[in-house]
Amino acid sequence: MNYSVWSLLRGALSGHRHWLPAWRTPTPKRTYDVLIVGGGGHGLATAYYLAKNHGISNVAVIERGWIGGGNTGRNTTIVRSNYLYPQSARLYDFSLKLYEGLSRALNFNIMLSQRGLVALAHSRHDLDSMSRWVNAMQMNGIAAELLTREQVGTLAPALDMSLQARFPVLGGLAQRRAGTARHDAVAWGYARAASALGVDIIQNCEVTGFVKRADGRVLGLDTSGGRILADRVGIAAAGHSSVLAKLAGFRLPVTSYALQAMVTEPIKPLLDTVILSPGAGAYVSQSDKGEMVIGAGLDLFPSYAQRGSFAVTQGVLAATLALFPSFGRLRLLRQWAGIVDVVHDSSPIIGPTPVPGLYINCGWGTGGFKAIPVGGWTLAHVLATGANHELAEPFQLQRFITGRFVDEAAASGIAH
């Protein structure tokens, strides 16, 4: 059933009784070609691209809770590809390009709003770093601009533009194609399209163990809903990657942290672009419903609790008010946290694990949402062909042994 204004009209006449389930809820088969652990954006996208790109639809997505309930439903919905190293730039820009066609591809409006993103410079040193960043992006074939103070001021008039501000705005790095997308819609869109192509989506089904052959090769999963066999298994469980790795008998260079996000009560439009300030320690955008969506750095101790520390919330909001003093009287409506899988060089791991037949997509840390399409595309590729997609080649587990990091965070300069 196609989603369109006409289908809505037909619905209006029939009390909307004609709509079919967005995704099926089948009873799980005993065997599949491929099993995917994790029903978030990456897992659902992997299933979709397996069916769409590789014609493999005898696939099941095994989700512990409800689809899109993990980080996919807990992030600040920003999509961008302003990365410095060619390997990362290609990866994230491929994802942004997929996002640009996703509403049509999935026939599901993900509300991709390319309203632009501006990273703020508060010192001449910041401007120098941004100059490197912009030039590197252009070298990678990604449009990016250095903005003057005045240009930033017109894009985000709510910013404190006085030169006496605690974080004076001296300019910014802009990626016009960046912006936001509705996170739930990405998960549901992929789920609906994958289900339509034959993929089974199984919720409320927790993986309790891996079934292995004598030689260690993976044969399937033990779950709260019984044993399910498959030739290949892909893990896309973000913050829970280590939990699954342990079940499969290996360790990852991953530590799970709470990453907070929060929204204010909805108000009339006040901010029409995404503002990032690494220096002040906060980033802000306004949702289509009118809520200010605010995020920042990690709670810096390992945690699987989707709550977050109040002291960090205070720091994030103080940073936000340092940038946007006029938000002071708005009220915080909701605060929560995702569990993000952080690795040393804040770049992903997409490829084989020490267990033959078991592949993993993790390590996205604080930047997983923007990478859902490419994470799915590349994990699907290795699951289907057994060989890494060329975009994923630089992002293997082995780099933590050889030292060939792709350290984006570090490249933007340690504190100076």
Binding site: S242, A311, H344, I401
Partner: protein, 90 residues
């Protein structure tokens, strides 16, 4: 915001401390293989359960100490010296 019981200064709010990651990780010598060295630096249990980690009371006495903490409930089961072996937890 947690409250940690610094062995010297007593219970203090979490924003006075800094977490130093997992404890009880033996440091291999120069002769270690790349694999062993890589695992020492980066590979962790990252348990969803009791985690033995070390904290420093940065804005207090400046001392490091070990904590056994549950990474979901944040319940602190034990606080013990950096040089102590991990206690058996009931």
């Amino acid at each position: 915001m947690m409250q940690l019981n610094c062995p010297w200064c007593g219970p203090r709010d979490e924003n006075e401390f800094a977490c130093g990651g997992s404890s009880h990780i033996a440091r291999p010598g120069l002769a270690a293989s790349d694999q062993v060295w890589g695992e020492y630096l980066f590979f962790r249990d990252n348990p969803k359960g009791v985690h033995r980690e070390r904290w420093r009371h940065v804005q207090g006495c400046g001392q490091w100490f070990n904590v056994a903490r549950h990474t979901v409930t944040h319940e602190v089961l034990s606080v013990y010296a950096v040089t102590d072996a991990p206690p058996k937890l009931g």
